[in-house]
């Protein structure tokens, strides 16, 4: 996991555990297509902000929000509006 000094940004591997709580398939090696700019990045390589009320995942090309994940009181909320497509690979 890499910590980019500016803005406390982590890469997508930082939320591998959180994503495994939600999905049965491995998501960090899935390819996410940004609904804003169309850039395709492995989820493990996107920008992640965890020092916030939830987890915010942003496109490394245009910084648009790809996912917002909130966990609280036994519930999860997952907003994928900014991810046009998520390509998951069977292992």
């Amino acid at each position: 996991m890499n910590m980019r000094m500016a803005d406390m940004t982590l890469d997508g591997n930082a939320i591998g555990g959180l994503l495994r709580e939600i999905f049965t398939m491995e998501v960090t090696n899935a390819e996410a297509t940004c609904a804003g700019c169309g850039a395709v990045n492995a989820v493990g390589r996107v920008e992640v902000y965890v020092h916030a009320p939830g987890t915010v995942v942003r496109c490394p090309a245009c910084q648009q929000v790809l996912m917002r994940i909130v966990r609280g009181e036994g519930r999860y909320w997952l907003d994928l509006t900014g991810t046009r497509t998520l390509e998951l690979v069977e292992t």
Binding site: D7, R58, V70
Partner: protein, 201 residues
Amino acid sequence: MGFISRGFRGKRRDTADSGRLPPGQYLVNDYPVLSAGPTPRPNLDTWTFSIEGEIDTPKKWTWQEFLALPAETVTKDIHCVTKWSKFDTTWKGVSFDTLFEGVETAAEYTTQFSDGDYTTNLPLEDLVDGKAWIVYEYNGEPLHPEHGGPARMLVPHLYFWKSAKWIRGVRLDKEQQPGFWETNGYNNYGDPWREQRYWGD
């Protein structure tokens, strides 16, 4: 012995303050930085603060005009939904009562919008009567970008995600429009004394 007693009484005083700590919160002395995206660094020569939406003549101030508005210094406790609270934070800025002077609107709700595309929603009545400010100084210093500078909201009676950093304006809405966190699990109102953290709280 005297020294130890004094320290002990000091701690007791903190405990006595627990009536100031909303349920589920713990007290911090530092000031944690929370951020959902890159820190914007707007050019103050082109920065503006706007009131728009359900208003006949939208209002807009430049940075210099904003600094020239009557300012207040207030000391408030703040409560973050991630469960930290900080007592006696001191801010300087302009109250919404000043900003809304002469504004007539049919709106009952507002959306705060910021650099970095953050938004949060508040009932209009929670911005007026000395409950909300746009602040640009913290502890006598210009507000640091990581804490929301050049200017942020201060709405201390609600969880602090309602106090948008890097504020650029307020839109007056007839209907409630859930914001960045409110559309994905967080409470539309966010009263820390009623622990309104999530949907349905």
